[in-house]
């Protein structure tokens, strides 16, 4: 039941991405190209998603527990640190180069070789970053 609902929600999320245009790098890059072939469509994606989620989350958090899980898994960090800002800055550069963000990429994986190539590079980046973070923790045992 858990897996079936996760699959169905993934389907819905993917359809949202495809209908909205977030899966099309040409559209994503044009959203950022204010000085050139600007296409403001993606602001409407954000608007629609935020409107529904902001209201929906408020209703969901009134429940004691999720329907099929023990509790809500939410981030607890609140630091506005260099890792957050530096990491996000680097992500933005990558997004601006490829036109693919992770959410836009997964639904179009089956539609061509370029998405698969990009996904391979993202996976390499994730694994490299995780390895560097683990290495950093090991080298500074006194701080931990």
């Amino acid at each position: 039941m858990k897996l079936l609902s996760a699959f169905a929600i993934g389907l819905l999320f993917g359809c949202g991405i495809l209908i909205s245009g977030m899966g099309d790098p040409a559209k994503v890059l044009n959203f950022f190209d204010v000085a050139g072939t600007w296409d403001p469509s993606l602001a409407f994606v954000m608007g629609g998603a935020l409107l529904v989620t902001a209201i929906g989350y408020r209703l969901v958090f009134r429940m004691h527990t999720p329907l099929l899980a023990q509790g809500f898994t939410l981030p607890t960090t609140t630091d506005l640190d260099a890792k957050l800002i530096g990491g996000s800055a680097v992500f933005g550069i990558g997004w601006g180069l490829s036109g693919f963000c992770p959410g836009g990429l997964v639904p179009v994986l089956g539609l061509g070789m370029e998405p698969v190539l990009t996904a391979g590079a993202i996976v390499a980046g994730i694994l490299t970053a995780r390895w560097m973070i683990t290495l950093g923790h090991r080298q500074q045992p006194a701080k931990a």
Binding site: L50, V52, A89, F91
Partner: protein
């Protein structure tokens, strides 16, 4: 050029929102695609791995729903060269791991919870993406 599609984009956005709310209501999880994929790549093959795999499989299968409804697969255009895709993808993986989130995790889930971290992250990656596109298209490219 791409067509300005405010209605379809808004509709797609609301579907993304409904899926995001549903994932929280049913499984109690944040719909951050990078986080879900990252956990899929590195956690053990247990219950926590299985829902991630099912969710990602649903996303990958979504073009088939579009095929069923519209009669054709969605089309995408990739303007960037393979080299830029690899470099951009690698930086995306590094950045979202250090920054703990991407457009869906910070931009939709986080901002909806009014998380200061997510607001700062989203403003940051939108600015650097904008600057990157400006530089590649109007300064170095052109």
């Amino acid at each position: 050029m791409t067509d300005f599609t405010p209605l379809m984009s808004f509709l797609g956005g609301t579907l993304i929102g409904i899926a995001t709310v549903a994932l929280m209501a049913v499984l109690g999880r944040i719909a951050g695609i990078n986080g879900i994929a990252s956990g899929f790549l590195t956690t053990q093959l247990n219950q926590d791995w299985a829902w991630r795999a099912a969710f990602l499989a649903g996303m990958v299968a979504s073009p088939l729903i579009m095929l069923g409804v519209t009669g054709q697969l969605p089309e995408i255009t990739v303007p960037s060269s393979p080299l830029l895709l690899v470099v951009g993808g690698f930086l995306t993986g590094i950045g979202t791991t250090y920054g703990s989130g991407c457009t869906s995790g910070h931009g939709v889930c986080g901002i909806s919870r009014l998380s200061a971290r997510s607001i700062v992250a989203t403003v940051t990656f939108v600015i650097t993406a904008g600057v990157t596109v400006y530089l590649t298209r109007h300064v170095f490219g052109g």
